[in-house]
């Protein structure tokens, strides 16, 4: 049984590439006017007006190059997103991602575990509560990024949409904030993959995943129990998988 369907794996990596190029080229476009204020006005809500982003984070070389990349890759990003959302809707994967009842409590337990207040990893299904929230918000923020992007691409031909978002200046600001949120979610995701569950990387490439190396089995939090221990991989005869015998596992800090 594969952990991730081939469609999910392919769309994941297409999205990773498309998003990287969209953010890099978007920052290069932003640097052509690294501010939000209309000419002759000031903008209330951005602390770094007229300070460009570091060139090393940008992609496209110059404004026209970045725009050409941005307006080509936007189709890849949006269509890939539609394929992904359509697939998880029809194939049922959405059930692993939509927040369940008690998600707030479960998420709080994960936070307590990560802060070492709680010793044992909360029980989870495919994803823990924090992952669920992150993977559920990602497409929503993605949709916000696409819609705000369309609004600043066509502020005259699609002026009702742009006006709904508060006009061009605000739509551009929402587009920027959506980008920041996507970057934050992505960086958090990459950090957690590498510090908590690097064994899930093959599951996003070949689909294979070893449940005995899951963060729950390793009782793993960032940087802690990163390497599998004998307990995690030991034959089942050595310790029962029943709930009661979980206490038999040596306590870890």
């Amino acid at each position: 049984m594969k952990r991730h369907h081939a469609v999910v794996r392919v769309t994941h990596w297409v999205n990773a590439i498309a998003l990287t190029i969209m953010v890099g080229s978007g920052l290069r476009i932003f640097n052509a006017y690294p501010a939000f204020a209309r000419r002759g006005e000031t903008f209330c809500c951005y602390a770094f007006e007229r300070r460009p982003m570091p060139a090393s984070l940008t992609f496209g070389g110059w404004l026209a190059g970045a725009r050409n990349w941005h307006f080509a890759m936007m189709w890849v990003l949006a269509l890939n997103g539609l394929v992904y959302l359509g697939f998880i809707y029809l194939h049922g994967e959405w059930r692993d991602l939509v927040p369940r009842r008690g998600i707030a409590r479960d998420a709080w337990e994960m936070v307590r575990f990560y802060l070492t207040v709680r010793k044992d990893h909360p029980r989870q299904g495919k994803h823990n509560a924090l992952q669920r929230l992150a993977y559920f918000s990602m497409p929503i923020v993605g949709i916000v990024a696409v819609v705000t992007g369309i609004a600043i691409w066509k502020p005259v031909q699609l002026s009702p949409l742009t006006n709904l978002l508060g006009g061009y200046v605000w739509a551009r600001y929402w587009h920027f904030l959506a980008m920041l949120a996507l970057v934050a979610l992505t960086l958090g995701h990459i950090f957690m993959v590498f510090t908590v569950d690097p064994y899930s990387i093959p599951s996003m490439i070949t689909g294979k995943y070893r449940e005995d190396l899951s963060p729950e089995a390793r009782n793993a939090r960032p940087f802690v129990h990163l390497l599998p221990t004998a307990t995690a991989g030991a034959p089942p005869s050595l310790h029962s998988s029943s709930e009661a015998s979980r206490d038999d596992v040596p306590p870890r800090l």
Binding site: T20, N68, V156, L238, R252
Partner: protein, 262 residues
């Protein structure tokens, strides 16, 4: 952190199970793991290092630009009008000035004779219009947003003549699908699709904020339309040519999107 007692316990578990350490079996150690992840990040970072991307991608980008033009043309409607937000302040004197010549282009009457705007190409009656002639044609004014390709906007009142009115006056051929706007700002020009040129908010502007254009803003006349990005709106106009084919443009020939619709 694992307490000494824990590692002892774990070691005994390892012996009991008679197995090598999981990490060894998997061939993963911390160093290799860090090297691999570092390499992946490095590759991403290099790719993003302000480069223009692979040269082979240029054909794909060109293809995407053509497809985008199809979408943009389909979206263009003569009934969608730009109305700046009521709260937006006019840029006034802070409206940016822009030209490609080394100095502000000023029409030199003593050297070139009186300025005339030529309306030509595929027209029944070519026109040579002085500023006074333009002023005597039906006047249209709008308070409009200016959308610069760089991402800024500015509000100004633009007053002039609708290009569609000029086209009618000159008897433009319906077979002319493109319009080229030429200037005396070096060789600056930009050509447009006829549909954008005939939009009711596409004006041959001679006044901004109620005053005749000053040289910094494109005097004596310029084209202005909110349906096109700033760079498509040629200033310092000399000729408006109705054409059967597109004729590129100053920035369009240098890598910017030719259509440049808003």
């Amino acid at each position: 952190m694992t307490s000494p007692r824990d590692s002892d316990t774990q070691a005994s578990w390892v012996r009991l199970a008679g197995q090598t350490h999981q990490a060894e079996r998997l061939g993963i150690d911390r160093r290799r793991f860090l090297a691999a992840s570092g390499g992946a990040f490095g590759a991403l970072f290099l790719a993003a290092c302000d480069s223009q991307g692979p040269r082979s991608a240029q054909a794909i980008l060109k293809f995407a630009e053509e497809k985008n033009e199809t979408v943009e043309r389909a979206l263009l409607s003569h009934t969608s009008m730009n109305v700046p937000r009521r709260s937006a302040k006019a840029a006034g004197e802070r409206f940016p000035s822009y030209f490609v010549s080394r100095q502000v282009p000023v029409w030199d009457e003593s050297a070139r004779g009186p300025w005339r705007l030529e309306v030509g190409g595929m027209v029944a009656k070519p026109l040579q219009l002085s500023l006074a002639d333009l002023g005597s044609l039906p006047r249209t004014g709008y308070r409009l947003d200016h959308f610069c390709v760089e991402g800024w906007t500015a509000v100004a009142v633009r007053t002039g003549v609708r290009l569609s009115d000029l086209a009618r006056a000159a008897g433009a051929d319906p077979k002319a699908r493109y319009v080229d706007f030429q200037s005396f700002d070096d060789n600056y020009h930009e050509s447009w699709d006829i549909e954008s040129a005939m939009h009711p908010q596409t004006l041959i502007v001679y006044a901004q904020d109620g005053r005749y254009l000053n040289p910094a803003w494109g005097a004596p006349a310029r084209v202005y339309s909110p349906v096109k990005l700033g760079y498509k709106n040629t200033k310092y106009l000399t000729k408006i040519m109705f054409m059967p084919e597109r004729n590129g443009g100053y920035w369009s020939d240098r890598g910017y999107e030719w259509y440049g619709g808003v």
